[in-house]
């Protein structure tokens, strides 16, 4: 059982590293393409990343183009940051005494980020819906509900972890 969970955790650690690198590359690519389309060659908006075409939006209104790209960069950056926090948990956790205030703080930070992302996703979705009324383009959508659901679950886990930390500290001081 121990071997199985150790193997799963090792695989997850690797997966999160791959995720972090992938998300960083994606965020960086979009940012570079965005700067190219803004300052060097406006045609770059036709293929921001992997065929993402926001040229019509750029032609319609520069402000909205910047807004939509900002939301995209924000969500990718938040996901990358959350993956980074998970890697930090893997790095710092000691399975002999897993409950530490440091880990609890990291889990809480993940839940706060997910909550912020959820709220921003709802705002972004309403913004894109409003945009689609004026211009017919293919804009990516974000699911705020999923982020909020995730934030709720992780927050509960963080609270349980915090309690575990207290109990572990008390247990360590029980003679």
């Amino acid at each position: 059982m121990k071997t199985k969970s150790t193997l799963v955790l090792t695989i997850m650690h690797v997966v999160f590293w791959v995720l972090l690198i992938g998300l960083c590359v994606q965020t960086g690519s979009i940012l570079i393409s965005f700067f190219v389309s803004e300052f060097i060659n406006p045609v770059g908006a036709q293929n921001l990343y992997m065929g993402l075409n926001l040229a019509a939006l750029k032609n319609y209104a520069e402000v909205h183009y910047v807004g939509v790209v900002s939301f995209m960069v924000y969500f990718l950056a938040v996901k990358a940051y959350m993956a980074y926090l998970v890697i930090q948990i893997f790095r710092k956790i000691d399975f002999a005494a897993p409950f530490s205030s440091e880990i609890a703080a990291l889990i809480t930070k993940i839940s706060h980020n997910a909550l912020a992302a959820g709220v921003v996703a709802i705002v972004a979705n309403n913004y894109t819906k409003w945009l689609l009324k004026s211009v017919s383009i293919d804009i990516p959508t974000w699911s705020g509900d999923e982020f909020l659901f995730l934030a709720g679950i992780i927050f509960i886990i963080a609270q349980v972890f915090q309690k575990g930390t207290d109990i572990q500290a008390e247990n360590a001081l029980t003679v």
Binding site: A169, E170, L173, T174, V175
Partner: protein
């Protein structure tokens, strides 16, 4: 904390060192030190019993509520 552990007082009365007591009650020096300095959050009945037997005293001699 209003509960005071008078282990050092009893140890002085019985003229016993921390390492001697540690051997007698089968507790680590670190744990005995936690108890002696009042940092302990809880004491097991088994520990209390062992301390009472080793120091030939009552729980009330070791613990005090202020």
């Amino acid at each position: 904390m209003p509960i005071i552990v008078n282990l050092d007082v009893m140890m002085a009365k019985r003229k016993i060192s921390l390492s001697e007591l540690s051997e007698k009650v089968d507790l680590t020096l670190a744990n005995l030190s936690i108890l002696k300095t009042g940092k302990a959050k809880a004491v097991r009945f088994s520990t209390l019993e062992a301390l009472c037997k080793a120091l030939d005293c009552q729980p009330g001699d070791l613990l005090e509520c202020r």
